[in-house]
Amino acid sequence: MAEEKDPNRRDFIFIATGAVGAVGAAATVWPFIDQMNPASDTRAQSTTEVDLSQLQPGQQIKVMWQGKPVFVRYRTPAEIASAERDDFAQLKDPASDASRIAQKDGKPGKPQFLILQANCTHLGCVPLPPDNPGFLGKYGGWFCPCHGSDYDTSGRIRGGPAPLNLLVAPYVYLTDTSIRIG
């Protein structure tokens, strides 16, 4: 044993085994972590088609997309005018109305149809439209009953705790009166 070199064979085997063990442990743990991510069938539900032809001006419907509600609102000319005018107002999360109605490929949308994800950007509640008795908003768009976030007719945040505008749902026009979300 007197000729034990430093590092000797045992040191080498120790480090090599440790390194292989660490990689093996990481490779084993990863599948158990990744299984928590959205599964294929969940991801497959990721598009929703909506027929717009039945909507009346001033009407709003909620459709489900990826398990979440989406607002589809047929805006009145007055709502469109107020949204466009406020492009130049003091905004917490500045965005022009044109950018809020754009399709997901960047092509311009139609001003009357606003397609937004329906969860408040604060903590995820569903805001109420103006015809709801619980609506207390000052901007005519949506009002969140949970913590009082106030959105305008373009879905932009104007008051309350929410940090961001209602998210635009990614959509494209399939025909003149139908869209696909997702």
Binding site: N37, P38, A39, Q66, G67, A81, R85, L123, G124, P145
Partner: protein, 531 residues
């Protein structure tokens, strides 16, 4: 603390077993001969109460799991079926649901007892930290469990709390989806929450084992905070502590039974009987009472702190409120354990308890709810009767030049003798101007106790003067309002001040009272509330 074992096997079988698995020796040394301070009061019986709560939750939970279906379309119905159709389901389900609340009643008393008598100080730091781990696991288990009946509060509680993760910059949204197993709270979320809800109580049981091990190594604290020095200071665990625990547990179980049989729904939210609906938020979302203080801290931060957004700051403070408990042993600088001999600290402790209860109240109220409104809401509505109205369109060469063009047009209109001018921007380069000249200025002052009522009065006033004058100007005077959010901010500040400033400084500056030399002396002097 426990000296050499004094267990002596009596029969042939126990002698045989003792050489092979000394489990009877361990039980005897831990729960019979184990020396406990002779002055323990009833606040010390909550360890036994909590052990019972854990056993009760596990037993009732295993039974409910035999009948529960973790699927979004069947979960609520399966709980209802359990309550109505399964023999004794009507009893076992409320035992579990009420039991969760009882568990937290007991754990909060147990923690406050530790805080008051300084049970977290050396050599019991690890014991305290293990207790904090148990508490954190209890919070997680309660949250997962609350999701399982899949009512409106289950769904929206889970939505709001998982959304908090999204406040983490950059990676927040990926973690959020990983946690939910999809893009919203749905079947995959319900299934994993059920799995974790079944798992965590056994993890708690494991950590409780460590907690008791650490307790028996360091020995129990006592109301004087003085270490036992001689045999005079202690009594054997059985029968003294055993009987005291049994009496305390009996009283606790009577309260438990009152809730189970007479008030089974009193601590829950009625909204949770409505099936979960992802498209409809209930008007008021609040967690169960035991998590409301932390919910209030979360909502208290409604302003950005430097680069940290309000939402993230709230999340950090909420988790910080629990995290701070872990380092408490090193924040309190006092050499004296028990606040019985720290009169100043006792005052701050009482304020702390009140602040925590107050935060719980804030968590149950809507954040804008006004506690005190100093005076009425007022508005002055002014208009010009019978003036001549001129309209004008403004166009500027570029969007940047529009504000200047608007100001210039307004000044020009006033030059021409207009008494009242309204300018409104219509778009990038367009604006409109309305000028009124001549006529009689009129004014009306409105007053109402509530902001909504004032709005109604303003609308009514506008309607009545509308025919004579189409344009009115409104000046509002909002009184000072002390809202739930502001109260929550003050109480949150005190919560953190107590741990971060008061306890560290007080230990260095205060003059504690006279601490008795031994436990036995304090008992003889009649200071202890029991022996």
């Amino acid at each position: 603390m426990s000296g050499p074992s004094t267990y002596e096997p009596k029969s042939g079988f126990t002698r045989w077993l003792d050489k092979r698995l000394p489990i009877l020796r361990l039980s005897y040394d831990s729960f019979v001969a184990y020396p406990t301070p002779r002055n323990l009061n009833y606040w010390w019986t909550f360890g036994a109460v909590l052990s019972l709560c854990l056993v009760s939750q596990i037993v009732t939970g295993i039974v409910i799991a035999m009948h529960y279906v973790p699927h979004v379309s069947m979960a609520l119905d399966s709980v209802q079926r359990f309550k109505r159709d399964v023999p004794f389901g009507w009893l076992i389900q409320p035992m579990h649901a009420v039991g969760a609340s009882m568990f937290f009643v007991a754990v909060y008393i147990h923690m406050l007892r530790g805080l008051y008598y300084g049970s977290y100080k050396a050599p019991r730091e690890v014991l305290w930290i293990l207790g904090c781990v148990i508490y954190l696991l209890m919070v997680g288990t309660a949250f997962f469990g609350y999701t399982l009946p899949w009512g409106q509060m289950s769904f929206w509680g889970a939505t709001v709390i998982t959304n908090l993760i999204g406040a983490v910059p950059i990676i927040g949204e990926s973690i959020h989806q990983w946690l939910m197993g999809g893009f919203a709270i749905d079947d995959p979320t319900l299934n994993r929450f059920f799995s974790l809800h079944y798992l965590l109580p056994f993890v708690i049981a494991g950590v409780v084992g460590l907690h008791i091990w650490a307790l028996h190594e360091a020995g129990q604290n006592n109301p004087t905070g003085v270490d036992p020095k001689t045999k005079e200071d202690t009594v054997p665990f059985t029968p003294h502590a055993t009987l005291k625990d049994a009496f305390g547990v009996s009283l606790f179980l009577i309260m438990f039974a009152v809730f189970v049989f007479y008030l089974p729904e009193a601590l829950g939210s009625a909204d949770n009987n409505i099936p979960a609906n992802p498209a409809q938020t209930p008007p008021e979302i609040t967690p169960e009472w035991y998590l409301r203080p932390f919910y209030a801290i979360l909502r208290a931060i409604d302003f950005d702190i430097g680069p940290i957004k309000a939402k993230l700051a709230g999340v950090i403070l909420m988790f910080g409120a629990i995290a701070i408990l872990f380092v408490l042993p090193w924040l309190d600088t006092s050499k004296v354990r028990s606040m019985r001999y720290r009169p100043a600290a006792r005052q701050f402790f009482i304020l702390f308890v009140l602040a925590a209860v107050g935060l719980g109240w804030c968590g149950s109220k809507s954040p804008g709810f006004s506690i005190i409104t100093a005076g009425p809401y007022q508005a002055t509505v002014s208009w010009i009767e019978n003036g001549s109205v001129t309209r004008e369109a403004i166009t500027s060469p570029s969007p940047d030049a529009t504000p200047a063009a608007m100001a210039a047009a307004e000044a020009a209109a006033r030059q021409r003798g207009a008494t009242s001018v309204f300018v409104q921007r219509e778009g990038g380069v367009n604006a409109s101007l309305i000028a009124i000249s001549g006529g009689t200025p009129r004014e009306r002052t409105l007053s109402a106790p509530k902001s909504e009522e004032l709005d109604a009065q303003i609308n009514a006033a506008k309607a009545t003067v509308g025919a004579a004058a189409p344009y009115v100007s409104i000046k509002r005077q909002t009184p000072f309002v002390f809202s739930v959010t502001q109260l929550a901010q003050m109480l949150t500040a005190y919560y953190f001040l107590f741990f971060l400033v008061i306890l560290p400084l007080l230990g260095l500056r205060e003059t504690p009272g006279r601490v008795p030399d031994t436990i036995a002396k304090s008992v003889v002097a009649g200071e202890a509330q029991g022996a």
